[in-house]
């Protein structure tokens, strides 16, 4: 037995949410060949099939790429500080891939371990995450290698599993999830099958050992020299969370804002002195990998990667976490 909802009922439900002034986000075909998680203003925009993974990640619904943390205005000779808005409308992120949802509990730790980021937390509280289990995967997917899977509940308030006849089985995991679907599902005898994920591609434990032993290993230079140093991987990664604080202003006033940043940019680690502790791209790649598979796990327990494969899909030169990890496994360069 299971609770199911039809595609049409789901869209009807979306319509209700929009009517109630909730913000709804989900996968959407932005242009031919390009699917992105975006804000949805019309249920018809929701995409629930025909794609593996959107090119971006839903992290920006709780951790925007640009967030004003305060602004200021000159009043004659004195300066007036103005708080940025910190209450956010209720929002539902729909048809999120389980790998993307699993990133959220990981980010929760980062944004709360010492300083509590109110902007993040308030957005997070206002957010309900409804995942869509994966029926298919591509060469870039490797959720199963980091302890997740195509229907893993981590980070989900509720999950939709595609069933027959254009229906979805609804599996709520939290009260938020319950509330979101109460009264709109019907009980069905059918049960959606458990989808199978990609084959396991490496062992995270071995990777961690390898990293701790090969800080100076040749693999970095051999495998990552062709990295161009852009932020396409970090900015479409559900777990990357580095940000920069910038001031932008003029004679009247200005803002202080939190912008995404990437450890792959040369200036990310550039010192005022002109010295750069990570002066080459391989060193920056090493930093990214080590942070994800050694440093972060040691500090927070979780691997800072959910195997979504976006870094590989979005890399201009077909470099991604996976290529390097596989190279580690078979120990020799491509």
């Amino acid at each position: 037995m299971s609770e199911v909802i039809s595609a049409s009922a789901l869209r009807e439900l979306m319509r209700d949410w929009l009517r109630q002034g909730k913000q709804v986000f989900g996968p959407r075909q932005v242009k031919p060949g390009l699917v992105l998680y975006t804000r949805l203003t019309d249920p018809e925009q929701l995409l629930v099939s025909g794609f593996i993974h959107p090119s971006n990640s839903p992290k920006e619904f709780v951790f925007p790429r640009h967030e004003v943390i305060y602004s200021y205005r000159f009043e004659g000779k004195d300066l007036q500080l103005l708080d940025a808005p910190d209450s956010f409308p209720e929002q539902i992120v729909l048809a999120v891939r389980p790998c993307d949802a699993a990133a959220l509990p990981i980010l929760d730790k980062l944004f709360n371990w010492d300083f509590q980021d109110e902007f993040y937390n308030r957005r997070r509280q206002a957010t309900t995450v409804v995942t869509l289990a994966c029926l298919s995967h591509d060469d870039s997917c490797f959720c199963t290698s980091v302890g997740l899977g195509p229907a893993d509940p981590r980070g989900s308030d509720a999950m939709l599993l595609p069933a027959q006849d254009d229906e979805f089985e609804v599996r709520p995991f939290t009260e938020k999830g319950e509330a979101s679907f109460s009264g709109v599902t019907r009980t069905s005898s059918k049960q959606a099958g458990t989808p199978s994920g990609p084959a396991k591609k490496f062992d995270a434990g071995q990777v961690r050992t390898y990293l701790s032993e090969n800080f100076e290993g040749p693999i970095w230079h051999d495998e990552t020299l062709h990295c161009l140093g852009c932020g396409a991987c970090a900015y479409t990664c559900p777990t990357c969370h580095c940000f920069d604080i910038v001031d932008e202003g003029n004679a009247a006033g200005g803002i202080r804002a939190k912008n995404w940043d990437s450890c792959q940019f040369p200036i990310f680690s550039l010192h005022a002195s002109g010295h750069n502790p990570r002066s080459t791209q391989p060193q920056r790649q090493r930093q990214r990998l080590t942070h994800k598979f050694q440093i972060y796990p040691e500090k927070f327990g979780d691997i800072l990667c959910t195997g979504c494969g976006n870094c590989t899909r979005n890399c201009p030169v077909n470099l991604g976490v996976l290529n390097v990890l596989e190279a580690m496994k078979n120990g020799q360069p491509l």
């Binding site: 932005v30 242009k31 060949g33 390009l34 992105l36 090119s55 971006n56 790429r65 640009h66 020299l225 062709h226 161009l228 140093g229 852009c230 932020g231 396409a232 970090a234 900015y235 479409t236 920069d244 910038v246 932008e248 804002a257 912008n259 995404w260 990437s262 940019f265 200036i267 002066s279 080459t280 791209q281 391989p282 979005n314 201009p316 030169v317 077909n318 470099l319 290529n323 491509l334």
Partner: protein, 280 residues
């Protein structure tokens, strides 16, 4: 063809003509093609060539890590080679100490990319060595500015709306900059503060300022490899901006970047005949 490429690579490394060969590699036929840096003759077999060889490897010549590998040989398509010519004109490369392996290219992508349909440089012209003689793609007539001309049928306000839409997606990941063989500044203008010419924030304002600057800094320099457009993770068609300047350069000044090694840079030179009808 691939075999002769690998043979050349071996020869260059053995004879010491080059310490590194920059080319395209592939773990195995199924796997994705990516740039490789061959430093030992025995690794020459990693080299490959097929219609998935998109990246313009010239972009790597500006990288210190790559320069430190020593004297380089580089695999270029005819279109990539135009980049070499611009870089040489801008004293970024010493053509003498660079060995260029030109590959006659029938166009990349499946289906072929638009740029290949009107490329006009399928066969490298200045390479030290030219490999392959693939059946050349016929240059499509009048296809060159097709995308742009279609776009320009929109009204100005429609265009502005279009770009606001596109740029609102920009993440400022700078893939467009990093992949561009012509973007070699050690400190990009967007990373300069005091003053901040370009807001670094990925707001509409900051994104417009960035993309206007990126495009205009390529005026008379963009070789139309369209890599910026190919790699954009959020699918912004930067090609339109590059093309509008390339078209102006060609139609108003008879200038095509990277075609004539002797040509004066378009910006940085002037002519008394330059038309100033728009100046009151």
């Amino acid at each position: 063809m691939i075999e002769s490429l690998r043979a050349t690579c071996r020869r260059l490394l053995e004879t010491g003509t080059a310490q590194v060969v920059i080319g395209y590699g592939q773990a195995d036929p199924g796997k994705a093609v990516h740039p490789v840096f061959i430093r030992r003759p025995e690794d020459a077999d990693q080299l490959t060539w097929n219609d998935q060889c998109y990246p313009n490897l010239v972009a790597y010549l500006k990288r210190k890590e790559v320069q430190s590998l020593g004297k380089a040989a580089i695999v270029v398509k005819g279109c990539d080679e135009r980049g070499l010519i611009v870089l040489e004109r801008e004293s970024q490369i010493d053509r003498g100490s660079l060995y260029v392996i030109g590959i006659v290219c029938g166009g990349v992508g499946n289906p072929k990319l638009d740029k290949c349909k009107s490329c006009g440089a399928h066969r490298p012209r200045f390479a030290n060595e030219i490999l392959g003689e693939s059946s050349l793609l016929q240059d499509g007539v009048g296809q060159k500015w097709q995308a742009l001309e279609e776009f320009l049928t929109k009204s100005p306000s429609q265009r502005m709306a279009y770009w606001q839409n596109e740029f609102s997606r920009c993440l400022k990941c700078y893939a467009c900059r990093q992949v561009c063989p012509m973007c070699y500044c050690e400190r990009c203008l967007v990373d300069k503060n005091r003053p901040t010419c370009i807001d670094t924030s990925p707001t509409l304002k900051g994104n417009f300022a960035w993309h206007i600057t990126r495009a205009f800094h390529l005026a008379g320099r963009c070789i139309g490899c369209d890599e910026c457009t190919r790699v954009c993770p959020v699918g912004i068609d930067l090609r339109l901006l590059n093309q509008s300047l390339a078209k102006a350069a060609e139609e108003q000044f008879g200038y095509r970047a990277g075609m004539d090694p002797q040509a004066e840079p378009l910006i940085g030179s002037y002519s008394l005949q330059d038309k100033d009808g728009f100046i009151g």
